[in-house]
């Protein structure tokens, strides 16, 4: 019986491939995706130390981000700008409000702009489905921290471990990986 951690590599590979492909088509430039599993701050500093050319833009952020234990996150950068993508990966019968709340909490604390709740081979609970469908602000959260406006954009997807592919649920503001790619392209190509 596999546990959820054993799915991380295939999910990482898939997300990275889709984001880098889409970015390359749209902006004719390379996008870099670096993964960290576990504690955010230490991993972020390790990634920056290992890839200084690509990740120097995240140095300041890594200094003030609080220590935080996560399932898995990605530092996504085009060398000039960066964003954090947090993945909350579950292997449960149906992902519910508590899993969603976990993702929201991680994004708020870390300041990550993008978050995905991923359930392996299963969908979401009816209550979560209804809530995300009707309450748009649950997947597009704006906060003001020290006078600075922050945005947290979230989505829910199902990982198919047989096809190694996402099945989109249309739940949340991030509807698909292409949608997430478009947002990154827009953000990284506009000053």
């Amino acid at each position: 019986m596999r546990n959820e951690v054993s799915y991380y590599p295939e999910i990482q590979r898939f997300i990275e491939s889709q984001l880098t492909s889409n970015f390359k088509v749209a902006s004719k430039r390379d996008l870099y995706v670096f993964w960290g599993i576990g504690e955010l701050k230490t991993n972020l500093q390790r990634i920056i130390a290992e890839h200084p050319e690509e990740c120097a833009c995240a140095s300041d952020f890594s200094r003030y981000v609080p220590p935080l234990s996560l399932d898995i996150f990605a530092l996504v950068t085009d060398r000039q700008k960066f964003e954090l993508l947090i993945l909350e990966i579950k292997l449960v019968k149906s992902a519910g409000l508590s899993e969603w709340s976990q993702l929201v909490g991680y994004c708020l604390v870390s300041g990550a702009k993008y978050g995905l709740l991923l359930n392996i081979d299963s969908g979401s609970s009816p209550r979560l489905t209804q809530m995300i469908q009707t309450e748009q602000h649950m997947s597009h959260i704006q906060t003001i921290v020290n006078g600075e406006t922050r945005e947290h954009i979230l989505g829910f997807m199902q990982w198919n471990s047989l096809t190694h592919n996402f099945e989109y649920s249309n739940l949340g503001t991030i509807k698909s990986l292409s949608d997430l790619s478009d947002r990154l392209v827009t953000e990284f190509t506009h000053k």
Binding site: S17, S21, L162, T163, S176, L177, D182
Partner: protein, 463 residues
């Protein structure tokens, strides 16, 4: 702008998309036949409907704002996409894909391919095609269950599309095992009177190769792939095109080589092997040297008569009556002992009968197959094909060692007529010195062969 989801949807649309007159709907036909039949396999049918609704539906909604539903008939599943199709049509038109009728019939994927800038995008596009037109039915294997195949089944006459797709597969190391072109030299190599030659293209890839480098988004397809691969004892990998062996066997000149349905670069040509098409189409992976080597023995490979045409005797008589070269012949009627023919075959499997020189005559192997068809009981035939011709002959001469068949031998080396039991067979002769004079190379493509009909003069001059 291309993206990974669009690449998948474009593959699906090009594989099975059809545009009709309605502005707000188009459909994608999934020709799943018996494999996806809800009567034969209700469990799989349930999974297919889940695949459509959980994979295709959200992707169409996110990408083009279209609402997906589906219909299932016995052999075909149809995905219906409703809504404002203008964004999708604009995308297709920008890629040079006409939104009219069956998309794959006229699709040129070269513009799409230029936007598939990395292996991942290519894989997504190919996954769309494999989910729609990739067949993994039980019959998709090479000789035995040990070599399982994914066959991309493409209707129509779009040779360039198939060639471009094959190149695309190559570029991700998903090297096709074989391409069955939609051409009479592929689908009816033995019988020029067989008119239903247009059975479509089949781009066949070893399933192991596809599993390693390709992709599926449909769970049902991935499951079938795993099931079929589990029938194999070993893992198989494909050889790059230039390293693949080429076994060229004789094929007859077919009148449909000039069919108006064939595109100009192909029409009017005779093709000695499936990879000969690749050379004529200019594919960089074609085995040009091997093809040119084979051109040195064209008289043995290009046959202007049926190699074997099996039918009812009345149909065979009608064929002879309608061909002046055959009708004008003087035929000697003979009755030949089947045991003696078998003995001749056993002493020399390559013997030629009734020739005028040691190099020409009717191949004993073909004659025996014809004899088997003539003497076979109904249950010994698959349609017009004898089930194991030597075994049939041995069984029948065991019952009757004096068994004979009637043969009509023409005065020139036009086809031999073997008949009896209400059936008839035309067997063409080997006559390489005469036949090689019928073949020339096309002036504007040195790999394209052109043939002319054989005349009585050709045959007389050979005497």
């Amino acid at each position: 702008m291309m993206n990974t989801d669009k690449a998948y949807l474009l593959g699906l649309i090009i594989g099975g998309g059809t545009f009709g007159n309605a502005e707000d709907v188009f459909s994608i036909k999934l020709p799943f036949k018996k494999w996806g039949s809800y009567l034969d396999n209700p469990q799989r049918a349930g999974q297919i409907s889940r695949d459509i609704m959980s994979v295709v539906s959200p992707m169409f909604r996110n990408t083009y704002g279209l609402i997906v539903s589906f219909e299932a008939s016995k052999n075909v599943w149809t995905i219906l996409c409703d809504g404002d199709t203008s964004a999708l049509k604009t995308d297709l038109q920008n890629y040079g894909i006409p939104c009219d009728g069956e998309v794959r019939a006229n699709a040129d994927i070269s513009k799409i391919c230029t936007e598939l800038v990395d292996d991942n995008l290519k894989r997504r596009f190919i996954a769309g095609l494999a989910d729609s037109i990739g067949s993994m039915a039980k019959s998709q294997r090479r000789f035995t269950p040990e070599n399982q195949i994914l066959s991309l089944e493409i209707k129509g006459y779009n040779f360039k599309f198939v060639c471009d797709l094959c190149r695309l597969l190559h570029s991700i190391n998903c090297i096709p095992d074989q391409v069955n072109w939609n051409h009479p030299n592929i689908h009816c190599t033995n019988n020029p009177y067989y008119s239903t030659w247009n059975k479509g293209f089949k781009l066949r890839i070893l399933l192991d190769q596809y599993a390693q480098f390709g992709a599926f988004a449909f769970r049902t397809k991935a499951e079938s792939s795993n099931e079929n691969r589990s029938l194999q004892q070993q893992t198989h990998s494909a050889l790059p095109c230039p390293e693949q062996r080429m076994n060229v066997t004789p094929s007859c000149i077919h009148p449909a080589e000039n069919d108006a349905l064939l595109p100009e670069p192909i029409r009017g040509g005779h093709y000695i092997h499936y990879r000969h098409f690749c050379a004529v189409l200019g594919c960089e992976h074609a085995p040009y040297d091997k093809i040119l080597d084979e051109f040195s023995r064209l008289g043995k490979l290009v046959i202007p008569f049926p190699i074997q045409c099996r039918d009812s005797i009345s149909q065979i008589e009608s064929i002879i009556a309608n061909d002046p070269l055959l009708a004008k012949r003087y035929y000697s009627d003979m009755s030949i002992n089947v045991s003696s023919l078998l003995g001749q075959f056993q002493s020399d499997r390559n013997a030629l009968l009734y020739g005028s020189t040691p190099e020409n005559g009717y191949p004993i192997r073909e004659v025996l197959q014809a004899v088997a068809y003539i003497i076979a009981d109904h249950n010994e035939l698959f349609g017009k094909r004898p089930k194991g011709y030597i075994e049939i002959i041995e069984r029948h001469i065991k019952n009757d060692p004096t068994l004979t068949v009637a043969i009509r031998k023409p005065d020139l080396l036009t086809p031999l007529v073997i008949w009896g039991n209400g059936r008839g067979v035309l067997v063409g002769a080997e006559n390489p010195k005469v036949y090689e004079r019928l073949v020339t190379r096309c002036p504007n493509n040195k790999y394209k062969l052109q043939t002319r009909p054989i005349t009585e003069e050709d045959l007389r001059n050979a005497q």
